[in-house]
């Protein structure tokens, strides 16, 4: 009689869902925004993406090696996602070393120092972006679409600088670019944030694949919409509101950054509160902050509240409070 059978507590079967598959879906969803980013901002944009992804993978690999983890986590593709998101949050004219610094900071300091995937309390790409604001001029020098930039050399900033639509909105004006250009992404801004259309396509893919639910993005965007409609500046409320929604990093933030698993609530109610909180803070910063964009900081601030939100939004267990 064989007595070396595996003993274990049920269940004895698992779904074929893996972290790698989820991350692969996120990467696929990010492709349209990247393609249009490269189309509008040129091959230098692609170079940024390659460098940040490489920096993130290398940092992940090196950290696992140095700390003798005994396994390597680059295979789960989460470092690739962080790398892509970081590149999407960079202005195309930034020097290439900025992606190296940002990638290393995102993975080593923000993610691994706090315990690795799932344990970090702030979105690595966003926290790295905030860190990179140590070089404020670099991070706020925007380029108009279709400007020809060198692939490797750093362009002189004064020659290429343009204003983003958010600057106009801050002054209470409708951006000159017009809603259509805002929608397809033909405006100045970070590499992957300008095209609402492509980001929405990616978001729809994630929802269909059940990687994310619509709760956080919808609550986030709706909150911004309602507030900018009520407190519109200028004389066309609707156009002002739509410009706000389509400008800056709102779509990228709401769909891809605020939905980051590790740094958003897990409860349904919590996700809605989180989305509303992000929306409130975004509008607050956009209206009253010294910097015209508020999406990154609003998400980072809400990241810090996730545990509080989660522990106070426990759903009712099935049968709890049920009456005869």
């Amino acid at each position: 009689m064989n007595t070396s059978y595996v003993m274990s507590s049920s269940p004895h079967m698992r779904s074929d869902e893996t972290v790698t598959k989820i991350m692969r879906d996120v990467i696929i969803a990010l492709v349209p925004a990247g393609v249009i980013g490269v189309y509008f901002f040129g091959p230098r944009a692609l170079m940024h993406i390659i460098i940040t992804v490489a920096a993130c993978i290398a940092s992940e690999w090196a950290y696992n090696k140095i700390t003798k983890k005994g396994y390597n986590t680059i295979g789960d593709l989460s470092a690739v996602v962080t790398g892509i998101l970081l590149a999407y949050n960079l202005p195309v004219a930034a020097p290439l070393w900025i992606g190296l610094v940002g990638g290393a900071f995102a993975i080593i300091v923000v993610k691994q120092f706090f315990g690795g995937l799932g344990q970090n309390f702030m979105n690595p790409a966003l926290a790295a972006r905030a860190f990179l604001f140590s070089w404020a001029v670099i991070m706020t020098t925007w380029t108009a679409p279709h400007t020809v930039l060198p692939i490797f050399a750093t362009p002189a900033t004064d020659a290429i600088a343009t204003a983003t639509p958010l600057v106009a909105l801050k002054a209470g004006q409708i951006p000159d670019a017009g809603l259509f250009n805002l929608f397809i992404g033909n405006v100045g801004g970070c590499i992957g944030e300008t095209s609402a259309l492509c980001l929405l396509i990616g978001g729809a893919y994630l929802v269909i694949r059940k990687v994310i639910s619509v709760r956080i993005p919808l609550a986030f965007i709706l909150t911004v919409a309602v507030l900018t409609l009520i407190f519109a500046r200028g004389n066309n409320n609707l156009e002002f509101m739509l410009s706000h929604i389509l400008s800056g990093g709102l779509m990228l933030g709401a769909i891809f950054m605020a939905t980051d698993y590790a740094t958003s609530p897990v409860t349904k109610k919590g996700q809605i509160i989180f989305g509303i909180g992000c929306g409130l803070l975004t509008v607050f910063i956009r209206y009253f902050g010294s910097y015209p964009e508020g999406v990154s900081y609003s998400i980072l601030l809400m990241n810090a509240c996730v545990w509080l939100i989660d522990t106070h939004t426990k759903p009712k267990a099935f049968g709890e409070g049920a009456k005869k």
């Binding site: 059978y5 049920s10 869902e17 409070g321 049920a322």
Partner: protein, 454 residues
């Protein structure tokens, strides 16, 4: 829209391995091991002694306790020993060992004799008790005790659990397909116990069962076939009652709280056998399956046959199994040895090869929330598991750990391959212990105060 519950998962069901294999009877072995406890509740006392001759179907163990169920000999022969024996539940259980004389001399004539028309409710209930019938889905709650404890409540939903939502298992499916008239007789018997309609709930992955039974009951107003969406754990007590009746069983209560009672399809067949053939429960249909088994199928097996014997009889292994499970893959129990007997609740023997054994290299939570979306009890498995790892029992209680039905949907769904339900199961045992201790302390405190006052 098909009736169902919130949450759940869709595991691949592997039923194709055995669903088209007719039930084949496996001969009784030379020796049977009949455990004196094959149910939830008080174990039986032996009614026989070493050296006694017993007949097939003879009662050999019983108890005076309300929640208990007698056991019967599955062969005719001689009692050779009464001693604790290994049991598929993982503990040693006092068992009667009978040497088979291969005469199959029955204690009573088991041939069919229609007694349905003039049987009374009390007779029915007492026959069900005497037959040793228990919930045959796996839990093994004594059926008669279940019926009697509902006597005081108004039952208006008698639900037959024919969902068979566990992957791999096809024993109920085969019974329903091969013995429809017998199942209908069993249902008719149940209508005589409860003044209520019977809801026969089947998952829609068994369309042939649904069609067949819908046709058979088309002229009857007392039985309704309820097709359910195929989803695990559709056969869970609370999920099933909700899917069929829309009623929610309050936390910590039984289905009777909302006027419902559930019986498994296999149990209905056992009721038929006792009522119409006076045959107590000493054999059952077992699905033998898994990628390690040479020839998968559904087999009628005498209670007390060892797993070893049964597996050898069906042709043995094509590959040495790494894991042997009693029941299905979602809630079944792993076996460390295979000389344990088939019992009343052995719905299946699942033998998996090393390839099919889940051994994740690393487990971690990425907080994706898939376990939360899938939890049929609307709990937060990721958080419960984390609190369990940290042994924060007060938090566990606050987050409703005791509502967990241990269906395993969370662990199944987890992309990080965490042992969620396993952690939660451990924590439940601890929280239960803490609750009992707290209750005891309060009781003692009250007693001390009462003493002081007097």
């Amino acid at each position: 829209m098909k009736k169902t519950f919130k949450g759940g998962a869709h595991p691949h069901d592997f039923k194709e391995l055995s669903k088209d294999k007719s039930i084949v009877t496996i001969d009784a072995p030379d020796k049977v091991i009949i455990p004196l406890s094959q149910h939830i509740g008080a174990p039986c006392e032996p009614l026989v002694a070493v050296g006694d001759h017993v007949k097939m179907g003879q009662k050999i163990g019983d108890s005076k306790a309300f929640i208990s169920s007698p056991v019967h000999s599955s062969v005719s022969g001689t009692v050779v020993d009464i001693k604790p024996c290994p049991n598929p539940r993982g503990v040693e259980v006092m068992s009667v060992i009978i040497e088979n004389d291969h005469q199959d001399e029955p204690v009573e004539d088991f041939s069919f004799n229609d007694r349905l028309s003039d049987i009374t409710r009390d007779e029915l209930v007492s026959l069900i008790r005497e037959a040793g019938i228990v919930g045959m889905g796996g839990a093994g709650f004594p059926t008669a005790a279940k019926i009697i404890s509902c006597a005081e409540t108004k039952i208006d939903y008698v639900i037959i659990n024919a969902a068979e939502c566990e992957p791999y298992l096809t024993n109920d499916y085969r019974l329903m397909m091969e013995y429809p008239n017998e199942i209908i007789d069993g249902l008719t018997a149940i209508t005589k116990i409860f003044d209520s309609k019977i809801y026969f709930a089947v998952e829609d992955n068994k369309p042939d069962v649904i069609d067949r039974y819908q046709d058979m009951v088309k002229n009857r107003s007392d039985i309704e076939i309820v097709p359910l969406k195929t989803k695990y754990p559709q056969g869970g007590e609370k999920q099933l009652v909700y899917a069929v009746s829309g009623r929610v069983i309050p936390t910590g209560k039984l289905p009777s709280e909302v006027g419902a009672i559930i019986m498994n399809a296999g149990t209905v067949y056992a009721i038929y056998e006792m009522i119409q053939r006076r045959k107590p429960l000493f054999e059952r249909v077992v699905t033998i399956t898994g990628d390690a088994v040479f020839s998968t199928g559904n087999f009628r097996v005498r209670v007390g046959s060892t797993f070893d014997y049964v597996l050898e009889k069906v042709g043995g292994f094509k590959e040495e199994p790494a894991k042997v499970i009693m029941g299905g893959p979602m809630m079944g129990i792993t076996q460390y040895r295979t000389d344990v007997p088939v019992v009343k609740t052995t719905s299946g023997i699942l033998c998996l090869t090393e390839k099919s054994v889940d051994r994740p290299k690393r487990t971690y939570c990425i907080r994706c929330g898939k376990c939360i979306a899938a939890c049929p009890m609307n709990l937060l498995p990721a958080m419960l598991s984390m609190y369990a790892e940290k042994k924060e029992y007060d938090k566990l209680e606050k987050f409703d750990v005791m509502s967990c039905i241990e269906c395993g949907t969370c662990s199944f769904t987890c992309p990080g391959k965490k042992y969620l339900v396993q952690n939660i199961r451990d924590a439940k045992a601890k929280v239960g212990e803490i609750r009992r201790r707290r209750a005891q302390e309060e009781k003692e405190k009250k007693e001390a105060e009462a003493k002081k006052a007097s």
